[in-house]
């Protein structure tokens, strides 16, 4: 090792010397890596912090139970299960729970109302026990307040949301009933930000119409009990409408809720790192080309090929390490700033209302640091191999572009990458994540970029034969043809940033267009009414009265509930409404046999649960597992975790529940919406809070949500493009500045300054145009992977390709202008040097 130190000294001299001579090039490359690492880490930390907060919120509501039995739907299950479970061997303690969504007039969002048996909860979920206020406080959590039918204990966030304080009175609405209660104390064990109300279980069952029903039972196992055996024993006694969940399955469910979104955002953030990698590639390629004679000299002086390879790789590694370390600091600051300013929600709506603390993840930081390092080294690999391969005898003669323009570049490595990328696109998701889809994108990008020398040659060769009047343009064409490898280096950056931008823009445009079309179909009525969920909705008599309102031609009542079909998956939405094919964008259908109860499943549900039209499935809709026939699959963008649509009449027949929480209204010809709204409001039951909305409002709201959820996407994409453009500018600028000697020679030959500037602008514009054309082509291919692979595998919905022509045209024009402008500016700088001195320059 000691013997190697002097040689390392030589490499250090060479590297430091290069950076001393061109510090901005190394700094630009390091900054590009820093930006990529910072974005990746920041997005990851924001999402991880939000997920951590969200999981804590879930565990707060669930208390500290080791195991839980939960109802598969909000309706819950029969309380007779409770004594059965309590008697099972291995179960140390059980605590029955009523859990309802509650609200109050003027409240800021819903509150989770939990009915507990305090004495039992003390052994299983002590964090849900309250602290009574006033005189009761002295008696501890099991004071009289805990058994008072009229008392409720509220968490800090619930006090704020309901705008009350201990000692106040409160009208709480849940399961369609409004009950006056006294705020008897607080819940100090509940985490910050969680809106939870706790009251006595018997009072909750009685006063909110839940007699004989429980939503969950919390369990604690005996010490040393065989958990597997106890679980099996519980599973044997569970009815169809109840499900066993554990902390682990809840964690998996929380994770599954937003995992695809988080992974997609992580991948998007890594795009900036990828374009940073191309910037490193361009910078290193140029540095290697410029130092070709220097490397040749080193070879002559006795430096081995692999030492040169190592030197260029080491340069990349130092750039990557410096950029990575800076990126970690920047990423932490960015994540901290985002959490302080925006909370944990980056627009996807998964963590809305969550205000997480920044959770530093050393493992993730290390991964991003290594990714930064590998990207920079990856970007240096090809230039390093070129440096090592250089023929010293040839390079010492300093013949310029090392590629003979008459030799056709190889296309097969690129075709191989493109073919493997295309094949990867057909592979299935891994654990719900489109790993192969992302791999396909990366391979297609690599293949496309690798094809650039060949594409550049193919597209630029005709230019050589073009005869133009102006000497400047003629020179520009000849130069582009004669120095294909330099053209290819500059094109790589343009193609990488253009293709990524085009792929994302086409995907978002297709998605938005498809959502807009879908909204047009599902929002086909004139007016929509929605009752507050906790208010219970409209009973049949109210429905009949409302349907007879003057100005109403037809009123279709609907409601929704949820089903937990798997402990690991988020609940499935159940939409109850009269079946109407016109309002359901069907993708596939089957005719149900006589006597079968049909359900229509959404595209995500079909994907997640493997349902197909014509299949018979079992759903615990009515407390019992009942058979249903899958009569069709419809496109649905509103429930990412799946939905089934059940005909209203069938639902009422199966459950006896005829209440509906909303309605779609078709107005009579000539009826004015505001008049009809007033008339409908007049017929509403007293105390029921309802909202009215016209389809255009709902549509605008939905598209606003869409745009908000893609705001971060646009931001990350914009940064990736800026990094890419910086790479293009740096490449063209460095290439132009390296041609000072050529410009000096041309000036000696009598070419005017303005002719050289025109030549450079033409070169830049032609290069930009070739890059943009190739980038758009590659981007369109990559967009198809996003549309048909990444999106369906991540979010389980499909869409039709819609091209954003205006955006594509403007970006193409901007890129061509940027390339020409950069060449022109750099040319002016290069021309400012003394032409005579430039010709005499040795290097």
């Amino acid at each position: 090792m000691a013997a190697d130190r002097p040689r390392a000294l030589a490499a250090r001299w060479m590297i430091l010397g290069e950076w001393r001579a061109h510090p901005m090039r190394a700094v630009t490359a390091a900054v590009a890596i820093a930006v990529g690492v910072a974005l990746g880490l920041a997005v990851h930390l924001v999402n991880a912090s939000a997920l951590n907060e969200f999981s804590q919120a879930v565990s707060t509501v669930n208390g500290d139970a080791e195991l839980q039995v939960r109802g598969v739907s909000p309706a819950g299950f029969d309380e007779a299960l409770y004594p059965t479970l309590a008697r099972l061997p291995g179960v140390a303690a059980t605590s029955p729970v009523v859990e309802l969504e509650a609200g109050a007039k003027g409240a800021d969002g819903p509150v989770t109302l939990i009915g507990l048996d305090v004495l039992r909860a003390a052994h299983v979920t002590p964090s849900l026990l309250g602290r009574p206020s006033g005189a009761d406080a002295a008696h501890g959590p099991t004071s009289e307040a805990a058994f008072d039918d009229n008392a409720v204990l509220l968490s800090r966030a619930a006090l704020d949301a309901l705008q009350v304080k201990p000692g106040d009175r409160l009208d709480l609405t849940a399961a369609g009933r409004t009950v006056p209660l006294a705020v008897a104390g607080t819940l100090p064990g509940v985490a910050e930000g969680q809106q939870i109300a706790v009251m006595d279980i018997a009072a909750a069952q009685w006063r909110f119409g839940q007699i004989g029903k429980l939503q969950r039972i919390d369990l604690r196992l005996e010490q040393g009990a065989d958990a597997g055996r106890v679980r099996a024993a519980i599973a044997r006694v569970l009815p169809a409408d109840a499900q066993l969940v554990s902390r682990e399955s809840e964690a998996r469910r929380s994770d599954a809720l937003s995992r695809a979104y988080r992974v997609n955002l992580d991948m998007l953030a890594l795009m900036a790192l990828l374009t940073g990698g191309f910037l490193v590639y361009s910078a290193q390629s140029l540095a290697v080309a410029r130092r070709r004679a220097q490397f040749a000299l080193l070879r002559v002086l006795g430096v081995r090929r692999r030492a040169l390879l190592g030197q260029v790789l080491a340069e990349g590694a130092v750039v990557g390490l410096a950029g990575g370390v800076a990126g970690l600091g920047l990423g932490l600051a960015l994540a901290s700033g985002v959490l302080a300013l925006l909370g944990g929600d980056l627009g996807g709506g998964y963590f809305g209302g969550v205000e997480p603390e920044l959770v530093f993840a050393p493992g993730a930081a290390l991964v991003f640091l290594v990714l930064g390092l590998l990207t920079a080294m990856g970007g240096s690999l090809i230039p390093a191999r070129e440096a090592a391969r250089a023929q010293p005898a040839v390079a010492l003669k300093n013949v310029g572009d090392s590629v003979d323009p008459r030799v056709a570049p190889r296309i097969w490595p690129s075709l191989l990458l493109l073919a493997v990328g295309a094949a990867a696109a057909f592979a299935p998701a891994v654990g719900g994540i489109p790993l192969f889809g992302y791999g396909a994108m990366a391979l297609l990008l690599a293949g496309g970029v690798a094809a650039m020398p060949w594409i550049a040659r193919t597209m630029l060769t005709p230019l050589q034969r073009v005869r133009v009047a102006g000497a400047a343009v003629d020179l520009a064409f000849k130069r582009l043809w004669g120095a294909p490898s330099q053209a290819a280096v500059a094109l790589c950056g343009i193609v990488a940033s253009t293709s990524l931008m085009v792929a994302m823009a086409v995907m978002v445009s297709s998605f938005r267009g498809s959502v807009d079309d879908w909204l047009g179909q599902v929002l086909a009525d004139d007016l929509y009414v929605r009752a507050e969920a906790s208010g219970g909705g409209f009973d049949p008599a109210t429905q009949a009265a409302l349907a007879r309102t003057p100005g109403v031609a037809r009123m279709v009542f609907q409601t929704s509930t949820s089903l937990r079909l798997s402990p690991d998956q988020p609940p499935l939405a159940v939409l109850i409404r009269p079946f109407d094919a016109r309002r359901m964008p069907m993708i596939d259908s089957a005719t149900p046999p006589a006597g079968a109860t049909p359900v229509w499943v959404s595209e995500p549900a079909a994907w997640l649960y493997g349902w197909k039209p014509g299949q018979s499935i079992t759903l615990p809709i009515s407390g019992q597992a009942a058979p249903f026939f899958v009569a069709g699959v419809w496109r649905d963008y509103s429930n990412q975790h799946g939905a089934v649509s059940l005909d209203s009449a069938d639902y009422t027949r199966l459950t006896g529940d005829a209440f509906r929480a909303g309605a779609a209204v078709e107005l009579a010809p000539g009826a004015k919406p505001e008049t009809v709204i007033a008339a409908l409001r007049a017929r509403m039951p007293p105390g029921l809070s309802v909202d009215f909305a016209e389809p255009k409002t709902l549509r605008a709201f939905a598209l606003r949500l869409f745009d908000r959820s893609f705001a971060v996407t646009y931001g990350l994409e914009a940064i990736a493009i800026l990094v890419g453009l910086a790479g293009v500018a740096a490449t063209i600028s460095a290439q132009t500045l390296a041609r000072t000697k050529e410009f000096g020679m041309l000036r000696h030959l009598g070419v005017t300054r303005s002719q050289i500037v025109a030549m450079l602008a033409t070169e830049g514009a032609v290069l930009g145009a070739v890059g943009v054309l190739a980038g758009i082509g590659l981007g369109l291919v990559m967009s198809q992977v996003l549309i048909h692979v990444v999106n369906p595998q991540s979010f389980h919905w499909t869409m039709e390709t819609q091209l954003p022509w205006t955006l594509l045209a403007s970006v193409a024009a901007a890129l061509v202008a940027a390339a020409a402008g950069t060449a022109l500016l750099a040319g002016r700088r290069a021309l400012s040097a003394d032409a005579v001195r430039a010709v005499r320059e040795d290097w």
Binding site: P6, L301, G302, R305, A393
Partner: protein, 228 residues
């Protein structure tokens, strides 16, 4: 006849350019320590190619090149590189001084590549710069030098690691006659002082005159030039 074994030995060397044109064939040469030989010839005759073959930078079509009795054809690229590093010093027409290294670092580079400690290498480089008439300039950068000064640095670099063989390719080709004369004088003095064998290729009679023997490169080999 020199009794000691030659540092450089060329036997039946042949080389053609792509396209088939024969540059030379049947070329023989022995060069012993302390010998300073100039090879002349017209442009395109293959003088630089001959140097590339000797340095192991190019491969011969036929024949052998041996340095200190080691045949280059028996060595792989790494071994040829090592031999070049340890036994050969180069001086080029275009100087090839690394612009981002100081003069001291440029001269010390061959020593550092031979794993000499940095301080030792820089001290030797300082001595060499003194010897070529650039005292106290070790910390300067090349852009501060004239062409003649750059070639002095190149000579110092070629000799810094005490090679047995020095190859010089038109070392005065880029210099004005007056500077060229001073550089040649310095080169010859340094070569003789080092005791190394030296092969200078040039088309300049003035440059060739600095050598002990002058040979002309022809298609059939090297021919002794008399009376020059």
């Amino acid at each position: 006849m020199a009794a000691e074994s030659p540092i450089l030995s060329l036997r039946s060397l042949a080389k053609s350019v792509p396209g088939g044109r024969v540059l030379f064939e049947g070329l023989d040469l022995d060069l012993a320590a302390g010998e300073f030989v100039a090879v002349m010839g017209e442009s395109g005759v293959g003088k630089s190619t001959l140097l590339n073959l000797i340095a192991g930078l190019d491969g011969a079509d036929a024949g052998q090149v041996a340095i200190d009795g080691v045949g280059l054809e028996t060595l792989d690229d790494d071994a040829r590189t090592g031999l070049r590093r340890d036994r050969i010093g180069f001086v080029f027409q275009a100087f090839h001084i690394l612009p981002h290294l100081t003069l001291g670092q440029n001269v010390a580079l061959p020593l550092v590549l031979q794993r000499a400690p940095g301080a030792e290498a820089l001290a030797r480089a300082g001595d060499m710069l003194d010897a070529v008439g650039l005292p106290g300039r070790a910390g300067d950068f090349p852009h501060q030098l004239s062409g003649g000064e750059m070639q002095r640095v190149a000579i110092a670099r070629a000799l810094a690691h005490r090679p047995g063989l020095i190859l010089a390719d038109e070392p005065t080709g880029n210099l004005d006659p007056e500077t060229a004369g001073r550089v040649l004088e310095l080169f010859a003095a340094q070569v003789r002082q080092s005791g190394a064998a030296a092969l200078l290729v040039t088309h300049s009679d003035v440059a060739a005159a600095a050598a002990d023997r002058v040979l002309t490169l022809t298609r059939t080999g090297l021919v002794e030039r008399h009376g020059g």
